[in-house]
Symmetry: C2
Subunit: 210 residues, 2 copies
Protein backbone atom coordinates (compact mmCIF):
# COMPACT_ATOMS: atom_id res chain seq x y z
CA UNK A 1 0.00 0.00 0.00
CA UNK A 2 1.34 3.39 -0.99
CA UNK A 3 2.45 5.74 1.78
CA UNK A 4 0.09 8.40 0.52
CA UNK A 5 -2.89 6.13 1.01
CA UNK A 6 -1.64 4.90 4.34
CA UNK A 7 -1.49 8.51 5.50
CA UNK A 8 -5.08 9.09 4.42
CA UNK A 9 -6.26 5.92 6.11
CA UNK A 10 -4.42 6.60 9.38
CA UNK A 11 -5.60 10.22 9.40
CA UNK A 12 -9.20 9.17 9.02
CA UNK A 13 -8.89 6.68 11.84
CA UNK A 14 -7.16 9.09 14.21
CA UNK A 15 -9.49 11.97 13.36
CA UNK A 16 -12.50 9.76 14.02
CA UNK A 17 -11.12 8.48 17.30
CA UNK A 18 -9.74 11.67 18.82
CA UNK A 19 -11.23 14.54 16.86
CA UNK A 20 -9.51 16.36 14.03
CA UNK A 21 -8.36 19.38 16.05
CA UNK A 22 -6.47 17.17 18.51
CA UNK A 23 -4.57 15.23 15.86
CA UNK A 24 -1.43 16.91 14.56
CA UNK A 25 0.57 15.98 11.51
CA UNK A 26 3.19 14.64 13.92
CA UNK A 27 0.65 12.28 15.48
CA UNK A 28 -0.20 10.94 12.06
CA UNK A 29 3.45 10.44 11.16
CA UNK A 30 4.10 8.75 14.52
CA UNK A 31 1.21 6.35 14.02
CA UNK A 32 2.71 5.23 10.71
CA UNK A 33 6.33 5.24 11.90
CA UNK A 34 7.34 7.71 9.26
CA UNK A 35 8.90 11.13 9.72
CA UNK A 36 6.92 14.37 9.70
CA UNK A 37 9.02 15.46 6.74
CA UNK A 38 7.90 12.43 4.80
CA UNK A 39 4.28 13.28 5.44
CA UNK A 40 4.87 16.73 4.01
CA UNK A 41 6.40 15.21 0.94
CA UNK A 42 3.03 13.61 0.18
CA UNK A 43 0.74 16.43 1.30
CA UNK A 44 1.22 20.17 1.26
CA UNK A 45 -0.48 20.50 4.64
CA UNK A 46 -3.08 19.08 6.99
CA UNK A 47 -5.91 20.80 5.16
CA UNK A 48 -5.06 18.92 2.01
CA UNK A 49 -5.47 15.63 3.87
CA UNK A 50 -8.82 16.77 5.18
CA UNK A 51 -9.89 17.92 1.73
CA UNK A 52 -9.03 14.52 0.26
CA UNK A 53 -10.98 12.69 2.96
CA UNK A 54 -13.88 15.04 2.42
CA UNK A 55 -13.83 14.24 -1.29
CA UNK A 56 -14.15 10.52 -0.57
CA UNK A 57 -16.99 11.24 1.80
CA UNK A 58 -18.77 13.50 -0.65
CA UNK A 59 -18.57 11.01 -3.48
CA UNK A 60 -20.12 8.23 -1.41
CA UNK A 61 -22.77 10.51 0.00
CA UNK A 62 -23.81 11.72 -3.42
CA UNK A 63 -24.22 8.15 -4.58
CA UNK A 64 -26.27 7.31 -1.52
CA UNK A 65 -28.53 10.33 -2.05
CA UNK A 66 -29.06 9.92 -5.77
CA UNK A 67 -30.22 6.32 -5.65
CA UNK A 68 -33.60 6.87 -4.00
CA UNK A 69 -34.64 9.53 -6.48
CA UNK A 70 -35.00 7.10 -9.37
CA UNK A 71 -38.29 5.51 -8.34
CA UNK A 72 -40.75 5.52 -5.46
CA UNK A 73 -39.14 3.35 -2.81
CA UNK A 74 -40.96 0.95 -0.53
CA UNK A 75 -40.37 0.93 3.22
CA UNK A 76 -37.51 -1.54 3.06
CA UNK A 77 -35.78 0.48 0.35
CA UNK A 78 -35.99 3.53 2.56
CA UNK A 79 -34.53 1.66 5.48
CA UNK A 80 -31.58 0.52 3.40
CA UNK A 81 -30.96 3.91 1.79
CA UNK A 82 -30.98 5.61 5.15
CA UNK A 83 -28.68 3.02 6.58
CA UNK A 84 -26.21 3.78 3.81
CA UNK A 85 -26.32 7.46 4.72
CA UNK A 86 -25.73 6.75 8.39
CA UNK A 87 -22.90 4.33 7.63
CA UNK A 88 -21.21 7.01 5.59
CA UNK A 89 -21.59 9.60 8.32
CA UNK A 90 -20.23 7.11 10.81
CA UNK A 91 -17.15 6.37 8.73
CA UNK A 92 -16.38 10.07 8.37
CA UNK A 93 -17.75 11.13 11.73
CA UNK A 94 -14.78 13.39 12.42
CA UNK A 95 -16.32 15.83 9.95
CA UNK A 96 -19.52 15.96 11.95
CA UNK A 97 -17.85 16.28 15.33
CA UNK A 98 -16.15 19.54 14.33
CA UNK A 99 -18.34 20.54 11.47
CA UNK A 100 -18.51 24.30 11.87
CA UNK A 101 -14.86 24.48 12.75
CA UNK A 102 -13.76 22.50 9.68
CA UNK A 103 -16.17 24.23 7.31
CA UNK A 104 -15.18 27.60 8.75
CA UNK A 105 -11.58 27.12 7.67
CA UNK A 106 -12.31 26.15 4.09
CA UNK A 107 -14.80 27.83 1.85
CA UNK A 108 -14.83 25.06 -0.71
CA UNK A 109 -15.71 22.44 1.87
CA UNK A 110 -18.44 24.70 3.20
CA UNK A 111 -19.98 25.12 -0.22
CA UNK A 112 -19.84 21.42 -0.95
CA UNK A 113 -21.24 20.43 2.41
CA UNK A 114 -24.05 22.91 1.98
CA UNK A 115 -24.78 21.27 -1.33
CA UNK A 116 -25.00 17.90 0.40
CA UNK A 117 -27.49 19.29 2.89
CA UNK A 118 -29.56 20.80 0.10
CA UNK A 119 -29.55 17.49 -1.68
CA UNK A 120 -30.57 15.71 1.52
CA UNK A 121 -33.56 17.98 1.90
CA UNK A 122 -34.43 17.73 -1.78
CA UNK A 123 -34.16 13.94 -1.84
CA UNK A 124 -36.34 13.64 1.24
CA UNK A 125 -38.93 15.93 -0.31
CA UNK A 126 -38.89 14.04 -3.61
CA UNK A 127 -39.40 10.70 -1.88
CA UNK A 128 -42.22 12.02 0.26
CA UNK A 129 -43.94 13.59 -2.71
CA UNK A 130 -43.58 10.30 -4.56
CA UNK A 131 -45.14 8.42 -1.66
CA UNK A 132 -47.95 10.93 -1.51
CA UNK A 133 -48.60 10.66 -5.26
CA UNK A 134 -48.66 6.88 -4.92
CA UNK A 135 -51.24 7.13 -2.15
CA UNK A 136 -48.88 5.59 0.39
CA UNK A 137 -48.82 8.72 2.48
CA UNK A 138 -51.00 11.77 2.97
CA UNK A 139 -49.46 15.20 3.43
CA UNK A 140 -49.82 18.74 2.15
CA UNK A 141 -47.00 20.49 0.34
CA UNK A 142 -46.35 22.56 3.47
CA UNK A 143 -46.14 19.47 5.61
CA UNK A 144 -43.74 17.81 3.21
CA UNK A 145 -41.51 20.88 3.13
CA UNK A 146 -41.18 20.97 6.93
CA UNK A 147 -40.86 17.20 7.11
CA UNK A 148 -38.04 17.07 4.56
CA UNK A 149 -36.04 19.58 6.57
CA UNK A 150 -36.56 17.68 9.79
CA UNK A 151 -35.50 14.48 8.09
CA UNK A 152 -32.31 16.19 7.00
CA UNK A 153 -31.62 17.53 10.49
CA UNK A 154 -32.08 14.19 12.21
CA UNK A 155 -30.21 12.32 9.47
CA UNK A 156 -27.34 14.78 9.89
CA UNK A 157 -27.06 15.18 13.64
CA UNK A 158 -28.47 12.01 15.15
CA UNK A 159 -25.09 10.40 15.70
CA UNK A 160 -23.76 13.56 17.35
CA UNK A 161 -26.78 13.67 19.62
CA UNK A 162 -26.55 10.02 20.49
CA UNK A 163 -22.81 10.26 21.02
CA UNK A 164 -23.29 12.87 23.73
CA UNK A 165 -26.24 11.13 25.36
CA UNK A 166 -24.57 7.73 25.40
CA UNK A 167 -21.17 8.91 26.60
CA UNK A 168 -20.34 7.17 29.84
CA UNK A 169 -22.90 4.43 29.47
CA UNK A 170 -21.99 0.93 28.34
CA UNK A 171 -21.73 1.49 24.64
CA UNK A 172 -23.87 -0.59 22.34
CA UNK A 173 -22.38 -1.74 19.10
CA UNK A 174 -21.97 0.86 16.39
CA UNK A 175 -24.47 -0.80 14.09
CA UNK A 176 -27.12 -0.56 16.80
CA UNK A 177 -26.55 3.20 16.90
CA UNK A 178 -26.97 3.46 13.16
CA UNK A 179 -30.15 1.39 13.15
CA UNK A 180 -31.54 3.60 15.88
CA UNK A 181 -30.86 6.64 13.72
CA UNK A 182 -32.67 5.06 10.79
CA UNK A 183 -35.59 4.30 13.10
CA UNK A 184 -35.73 7.88 14.34
CA UNK A 185 -35.78 9.30 10.83
CA UNK A 186 -38.45 6.91 9.67
CA UNK A 187 -40.55 7.70 12.72
CA UNK A 188 -40.71 11.25 11.37
CA UNK A 189 -42.44 9.94 8.27
CA UNK A 190 -44.60 7.32 10.01
CA UNK A 191 -47.51 9.51 11.12
CA UNK A 192 -48.14 10.54 7.51
CA UNK A 193 -48.24 6.97 6.18
CA UNK A 194 -51.44 5.06 5.54
CA UNK A 195 -52.22 2.17 7.90
CA UNK A 196 -50.70 -0.55 5.76
CA UNK A 197 -47.37 1.22 5.29
CA UNK A 198 -47.25 2.08 8.98
CA UNK A 199 -47.66 -1.57 9.87
CA UNK A 200 -44.91 -2.55 7.43
CA UNK A 201 -42.64 0.02 9.04
CA UNK A 202 -43.35 -1.32 12.53
CA UNK A 203 -42.42 -4.81 11.38
CA UNK A 204 -39.19 -3.57 9.79
CA UNK A 205 -38.25 -1.74 12.97
CA UNK A 206 -38.76 -4.84 15.11
CA UNK A 207 -36.67 -6.80 12.63
CA UNK A 208 -33.73 -4.44 12.32
CA UNK A 209 -33.54 -3.03 15.83
CA UNK A 210 -33.52 -6.51 17.33
Amino acid sequence: MKTRDRILQASLQLFNECGEPRITTNHIADELDISPGNLYYHFRNKDEIIALLFQQFEKRMETALQAPQRRVPNMEDMWLYLHLVFENIWEYRFLYHDLDNILGRNRKLRTHFRRILERKVATAATICQGLADAGIMTATAEEIAALAQNIAVVATYWLNFQGIRASGSTQDSDSAHLALGVYQVLSLVAPFLNGEAQELLRQLSREYLS
Copy 2:
Protein backbone atom coordinates in the same frame (compact mmCIF):
# COMPACT_ATOMS: atom_id res chain seq x y z
CA MET B 1 -18.82 47.30 35.24
CA LYS B 2 -16.22 45.02 36.81
CA THR B 3 -13.36 43.83 34.65
CA ARG B 4 -14.20 40.22 35.42
CA ASP B 5 -17.67 40.63 33.99
CA ARG B 6 -16.43 42.60 31.01
CA ILE B 7 -14.10 39.69 30.23
CA LEU B 8 -16.98 37.24 30.35
CA GLN B 9 -19.14 39.44 28.17
CA ALA B 10 -16.44 40.07 25.57
CA SER B 11 -15.49 36.39 25.52
CA LEU B 12 -19.06 35.36 24.85
CA GLN B 13 -19.35 37.86 22.05
CA LEU B 14 -16.07 36.90 20.40
CA PHE B 15 -16.69 33.17 20.84
CA ASN B 16 -20.11 33.51 19.23
CA GLU B 17 -18.78 35.57 16.34
CA CYS B 18 -15.59 33.69 15.50
CA GLY B 19 -15.82 30.33 17.21
CA GLU B 20 -14.24 29.49 20.54
CA PRO B 21 -11.18 27.67 19.13
CA ARG B 22 -10.16 30.71 17.08
CA ILE B 23 -10.33 33.16 19.97
CA THR B 24 -7.23 33.29 22.17
CA THR B 25 -6.90 34.89 25.55
CA ASN B 26 -4.87 37.59 23.83
CA HIS B 27 -7.74 38.37 21.49
CA ILE B 28 -10.04 38.80 24.45
CA ALA B 29 -7.59 41.08 26.23
CA ASP B 30 -7.07 43.11 23.05
CA GLU B 31 -10.78 43.57 22.59
CA LEU B 32 -11.04 45.07 26.07
CA ASP B 33 -7.78 47.05 25.88
CA ILE B 34 -6.39 45.26 28.89
CA SER B 35 -3.20 43.24 29.16
CA PRO B 36 -3.10 39.44 28.90
CA GLY B 37 -1.65 39.39 32.40
CA ASN B 38 -4.65 41.22 33.72
CA LEU B 39 -6.95 38.65 32.19
CA TYR B 40 -5.05 35.91 33.98
CA TYR B 41 -5.44 37.77 37.23
CA HIS B 42 -9.19 37.32 36.93
CA PHE B 43 -9.26 33.81 35.47
CA ARG B 44 -6.93 30.86 35.94
CA ASN B 45 -7.23 29.98 32.26
CA LYS B 46 -9.42 30.00 29.19
CA ASP B 47 -11.32 26.92 30.31
CA GLU B 48 -12.47 28.73 33.43
CA ILE B 49 -14.02 31.44 31.28
CA ILE B 50 -15.79 28.82 29.23
CA ALA B 51 -16.97 27.02 32.35
CA LEU B 52 -18.45 30.25 33.73
CA LEU B 53 -20.27 30.99 30.50
CA PHE B 54 -21.54 27.45 30.43
CA GLN B 55 -22.89 27.87 33.93
CA GLN B 56 -24.89 30.92 32.89
CA PHE B 57 -26.20 29.00 29.92
CA GLU B 58 -27.11 25.96 31.99
CA LYS B 59 -29.00 27.97 34.56
CA ARG B 60 -31.16 29.69 31.97
CA MET B 61 -31.74 26.48 30.08
CA GLU B 62 -32.88 24.64 33.19
CA THR B 63 -35.36 27.37 33.93
CA ALA B 64 -36.66 27.24 30.39
CA LEU B 65 -37.06 23.47 30.54
CA GLN B 66 -38.69 23.28 33.94
CA ALA B 67 -41.47 25.73 33.25
CA PRO B 68 -43.52 23.62 30.82
CA GLN B 69 -43.61 20.62 33.14
CA ARG B 70 -45.93 22.28 35.63
CA ARG B 71 -49.19 21.98 33.67
CA VAL B 72 -50.40 20.91 30.27
CA PRO B 73 -49.53 23.80 27.95
CA ASN B 74 -51.64 25.06 25.08
CA MET B 75 -50.19 25.68 21.63
CA GLU B 76 -49.19 29.24 22.35
CA ASP B 77 -47.44 28.23 25.58
CA MET B 78 -45.45 25.70 23.63
CA TRP B 79 -44.48 28.26 21.07
CA LEU B 80 -43.22 30.62 23.75
CA TYR B 81 -41.38 27.95 25.72
CA LEU B 82 -39.61 26.75 22.60
CA HIS B 83 -38.73 30.26 21.64
CA LEU B 84 -37.05 30.68 25.01
CA VAL B 85 -34.98 27.56 24.38
CA PHE B 86 -33.91 28.75 20.95
CA GLU B 87 -33.08 32.22 22.24
CA ASN B 88 -30.84 30.68 24.85
CA ILE B 89 -29.08 28.48 22.31
CA TRP B 90 -28.63 31.50 20.09
CA GLU B 91 -27.06 33.59 22.84
CA TYR B 92 -24.60 30.82 23.66
CA ARG B 93 -24.28 29.44 20.17
CA PHE B 94 -20.50 29.14 20.46
CA LEU B 95 -21.13 26.06 22.61
CA TYR B 96 -23.13 24.44 19.85
CA HIS B 97 -20.71 25.30 17.08
CA ASP B 98 -17.89 23.35 18.71
CA LEU B 99 -19.92 21.13 20.97
CA ASP B 100 -17.98 17.89 20.83
CA ASN B 101 -14.69 19.72 20.97
CA ILE B 102 -15.64 21.72 24.05
CA LEU B 103 -17.32 18.83 25.83
CA GLY B 104 -14.39 16.58 24.96
CA ARG B 105 -12.00 18.80 26.91
CA ASN B 106 -14.03 18.97 30.09
CA ARG B 107 -15.77 16.06 31.72
CA LYS B 108 -17.91 18.20 33.96
CA LEU B 109 -19.31 20.17 31.06
CA ARG B 110 -19.98 16.93 29.22
CA THR B 111 -21.94 15.50 32.13
CA HIS B 112 -23.93 18.66 32.59
CA PHE B 113 -24.70 19.03 28.92
CA ARG B 114 -25.80 15.43 28.78
CA ARG B 115 -28.12 16.18 31.65
CA ILE B 116 -29.61 19.07 29.68
CA LEU B 117 -30.24 16.78 26.72
CA GLU B 118 -31.87 14.19 28.98
CA ARG B 119 -34.06 16.87 30.44
CA LYS B 120 -34.97 18.11 26.97
CA VAL B 121 -36.11 14.64 25.99
CA ALA B 122 -37.92 14.13 29.29
CA THR B 123 -39.69 17.49 29.13
CA ALA B 124 -40.80 16.85 25.56
CA ALA B 125 -42.13 13.42 26.54
CA THR B 126 -43.95 14.80 29.58
CA ILE B 127 -45.64 17.49 27.55
CA CYS B 128 -46.68 15.07 24.83
CA GLN B 129 -48.04 12.60 27.35
CA GLY B 130 -49.94 15.44 28.98
CA LEU B 131 -51.42 16.47 25.64
CA ALA B 132 -52.36 12.86 24.94
CA ASP B 133 -54.01 12.48 28.34
CA ALA B 134 -55.95 15.67 27.73
CA GLY B 135 -57.20 14.33 24.40
CA ILE B 136 -55.42 17.06 22.46
CA MET B 137 -53.17 14.59 20.70
CA THR B 138 -53.22 10.90 19.89
CA ALA B 139 -50.05 8.83 20.12
CA THR B 140 -48.83 5.54 21.52
CA ALA B 141 -46.11 5.37 24.15
CA GLU B 142 -43.68 4.21 21.46
CA GLU B 143 -44.56 7.11 19.22
CA ILE B 144 -44.11 9.59 22.04
CA ALA B 145 -40.71 8.13 22.93
CA ALA B 146 -39.41 8.51 19.37
CA LEU B 147 -41.07 11.90 19.00
CA ALA B 148 -39.52 13.28 22.18
CA GLN B 149 -36.04 12.36 20.97
CA ASN B 150 -36.62 13.93 17.59
CA ILE B 151 -37.88 17.08 19.26
CA ALA B 152 -34.68 17.21 21.28
CA VAL B 153 -32.50 16.69 18.20
CA VAL B 154 -34.18 19.43 16.17
CA ALA B 155 -34.35 21.77 19.16
CA THR B 156 -30.62 21.23 19.69
CA TYR B 157 -29.19 21.31 16.19
CA TRP B 158 -31.59 23.38 14.12
CA LEU B 159 -29.55 26.56 14.37
CA ASN B 160 -26.38 24.70 13.37
CA PHE B 161 -28.18 23.19 10.42
CA GLN B 162 -29.68 26.47 9.35
CA GLY B 163 -26.37 28.26 9.84
CA ILE B 164 -24.67 26.01 7.31
CA ARG B 165 -27.53 26.08 4.85
CA ALA B 166 -27.95 29.83 4.97
CA SER B 167 -24.26 30.70 4.80
CA GLY B 168 -23.62 32.87 1.80
CA SER B 169 -27.23 33.82 1.26
CA THR B 170 -28.64 37.15 2.31
CA GLN B 171 -29.10 36.54 6.00
CA ASP B 172 -32.52 36.99 7.47
CA SER B 173 -32.76 38.52 10.90
CA ASP B 174 -31.81 36.33 13.84
CA SER B 175 -35.30 36.26 15.24
CA ALA B 176 -36.61 34.89 11.95
CA HIS B 177 -34.17 32.00 12.29
CA LEU B 178 -35.37 31.28 15.80
CA ALA B 179 -39.02 31.37 14.82
CA LEU B 180 -38.28 28.97 11.99
CA GLY B 181 -36.72 26.58 14.48
CA VAL B 182 -39.78 26.76 16.69
CA TYR B 183 -41.93 26.06 13.65
CA GLN B 184 -39.84 23.04 12.69
CA VAL B 185 -40.08 21.54 16.17
CA LEU B 186 -43.81 22.08 16.40
CA SER B 187 -44.29 20.55 12.96
CA LEU B 188 -42.91 17.35 14.49
CA VAL B 189 -45.83 17.33 16.91
CA ALA B 190 -48.49 18.54 14.49
CA PRO B 191 -49.41 15.25 12.80
CA PHE B 192 -50.34 13.77 16.19
CA LEU B 193 -52.63 16.65 17.17
CA ASN B 194 -56.39 16.58 16.78
CA GLY B 195 -57.92 18.78 14.10
CA GLU B 196 -58.67 21.71 16.35
CA ALA B 197 -55.16 21.94 17.82
CA GLN B 198 -53.65 21.55 14.37
CA GLU B 199 -55.64 24.49 13.12
CA LEU B 200 -54.59 26.58 16.12
CA LEU B 201 -50.97 25.73 15.37
CA ARG B 202 -51.31 26.75 11.74
CA GLN B 203 -52.68 30.11 12.82
CA LEU B 204 -49.84 30.62 15.28
CA SER B 205 -47.28 29.80 12.61
CA ARG B 206 -48.71 32.32 10.20
CA GLU B 207 -48.72 34.89 12.96
CA TYR B 208 -45.18 34.41 14.22
CA LEU B 209 -43.32 33.54 11.02
CA SER B 210 -44.61 36.57 9.11
